[in-house]
Amino acid sequence: MKKVLVMGGEALKNQAKGPVTKHVLKRIAENPPPEDIRTIPAIIEDRCIMCGTCVNVCPSHCLGMDKENKDNGMIWILRPQCMWCGHCQTYCPKDAIHIDREPSLSNSLFSFNVRQDYDMLVAKGSYKGDTADKKLQELIEEGGKKIKEIEEFRG
């Protein structure tokens, strides 16, 4: 009987205390990641001159490029393939690569219809002219097929 009472007191205390992980969340909120932490890169379109240095320098081949000239082309980043090394930022001649401090890693994708959604999956690339539109459409269709396959697989 005595033991039950002891445990009951403990239970009541825990009820009043709230979640145990509460202080963890608070600590995370108080200590944000350092300002110049390395995460997934994003390309600033206005500065990009489509030189292709970042594509040549990327060790994990996560950057792809399809271009005709300076104002007509596309550079895209495959988010899952990136290993966060920040090499593209180091070698970019125009400082056109910005590294997000808080990357939204857990974004899920619902449709492949709008460009914004595509940006969410592949991180921010550089899109210029008709070539980009065409290429983007291709990639979207490819991605749509994959999503369909996954959905079929899941049933």
Partner: protein, 417 residues
């Protein structure tokens, strides 16, 4: 002199073992580490080890071949992935090889060299703290594991703040460094380093004075100086056996000759000595980090020298002192932007033979500690299979169960099986 039985023999069922052994223990082979995934075969007579053997080469990831398909610039980010925890040292050696081949070795400023050194020393600190925490865990002293890993976060925070990543700082580039260490960050890091020095001194006190850990490690797995000379270990394993060899002292690279530091060397050769070598080296590295931060204030210079994409023909070999020992890289350049051949020799390979020698005549209950003594980066998938030769009975243990059994056997003086 006894007959020398060659190690590295192929042996799958224990039939090849020495005659007086009655049990054979297999440890391994899944160690997805650098180039040294090891499969240990331990022959026992009763509770004592008669002989230990090893088979290696299970998990060649082909990182050297992958480097031949990438440019020198891309390889700068691939090479830290050779090892999970000593990434900065691998990158440091690579970068020095490329500097020499490209002919910009003399143009690199002192400031860039100091930042490179800071990265290497910070890595040595967190690697050593991690190691002696795990050693305490293997010896059944989990309190020290928790304390040391909690304190390790201080240096991890410093590395993250200065480089942008916790274990893969990747600060170096051919021709210099990527990022500067500005004065604000140095001022922020200095009190934290002081705090960590106090905490590591406390860890040292525990290792020297606490009976429950010293009794477990003292006179266990002794490697005498003569044996060490025959089996040629490197790094802390050699320094614990009275061989005062350190690449930073013998052939100074970067600016190690312009900084005050002492070589740590212990003559005993047991597992406690290897531990104390590493703890003392941590303290030594911490005071070196403080010195580097002080010197950075008065040193100015360009951070990055331009290195061309194409590296002219030539070969070069460089080496450095990794946390585990001597790390050797050899490169052949053929005038294009890709290497013709690149060879990495990571330090643990040199320590394997000495560790096998260490096991001879020891208790099976001491194996977890001795295997850990050369810092082999064992993965969690490590398994042990015990086979009783007479009955053919098999027993599979994971590392945890093995360690627990060993601790019990040692504590209560009970037989292992």
């Amino acid at each position: 002199m006894t007959e020398y039985r060659s190690r590295f023999r192929t042996l799958t069922d224990g039939s090849d073992g020495p005659e007086d052994a009655d049990h054979h223990i297999f440890i391994g082979p899944q160690h997805p580490w650098c180039e040294e995934p090891a499969h240990f075969i331990i022959h026992l007579k009763g509770e004592r080890v008669v002989e230990a053997d090893i088979r290696i080469g299970f998990n060649l990831r082909g990182i050297e071949k992958a480097m031949e398909n990438r440019t020198w610039r891309q390889n700068t980010m691939l090479i830290p992935r050779a090892c999970g925890i000593c990434s900065a040292v691998h990158q440091n050696v690579y970068v020095r090889v490329v500097d020499r081949l490209a002919g910009v070795e003399d143009q690199i400023s002192e400031r860039a060299r100091l930042i490179r050194m800071f990265s290497c020393e910070a890595e040595r600190i967190h690697s050593h703290i991690l190691w002696y925490g795990i050693l305490a865990h293997d010896a059944g002293f989990d309190t020290l594991l928790h304390i040391s890993w909690r304190d390790r976060e201080i240096i991890m925070d410093i590395v993250e703040k200065l480089s942008g990543n916790r274990v893969n700082p990747a600060l170096m580039l051919p021709g210099g460094v990527k990022r500067d260490i500005p004065k604000e960050k140095a001022d922020w890091a200095r009190p934290l380093l002081d705090e960590l020095i106090k905490k590591v001194q406390y860890h040292r006190k525990v290792f020297v004075e606490e009976a429950s850990i010293t009794n477990r490690l003292k006179d266990v797995g002794v490697l005498t100086k003569d044996e060490a000379k025959k089996t040629t270990p490197n790094g802390p394993t050699a320094r614990a056996s009275g061989l005062p060899f350190d690449v930073r002292k013998s052939t100074p690279y970067e600016l190690y000759d312009k900084i005050d530091w002492n070589l740590v060397c212990y003559p005993e050769g047991d597992v406690l000595a290897t531990t104390l070598v590493r703890v003392d080296e941590t303290l030594e590295s911490l005071q070196m980090c403080k010195q580097i931060l002080d010197q950075l204030e008065s040193t100015q210079g360009e951070l990055l020298v331009r290195v061309k994409q194409r590296i002219p023909e030539g070969t070069y070999m460089a080496r450095a002192e990794a946390p585990r020992g001597e790390d050797v890289h050899y490169a052949i350049a053929n005038g294009t932007d890709k290497p013709d051949r690149y060879k990495i020799r990571a330090p643990s390979l040199g320590n394997i033979d000495a560790t096998l020698k260490r096991m001879d005549g020891e208790y099976i209950a001491d194996m977890p500690v001795i295997l850990r003594s050369y810092d082999p980066c064992f993965s969690c998938t490590n398994r042990v299979m015990l086979i009783n030769e007479n009955t053919g009975e098999k027993m599979i243990l994971n590392q945890d169960e093995f360690a627990r059994k060993a601790i019990k056997a040692k504590k209560y003086n009970r037989p292992f099986f």
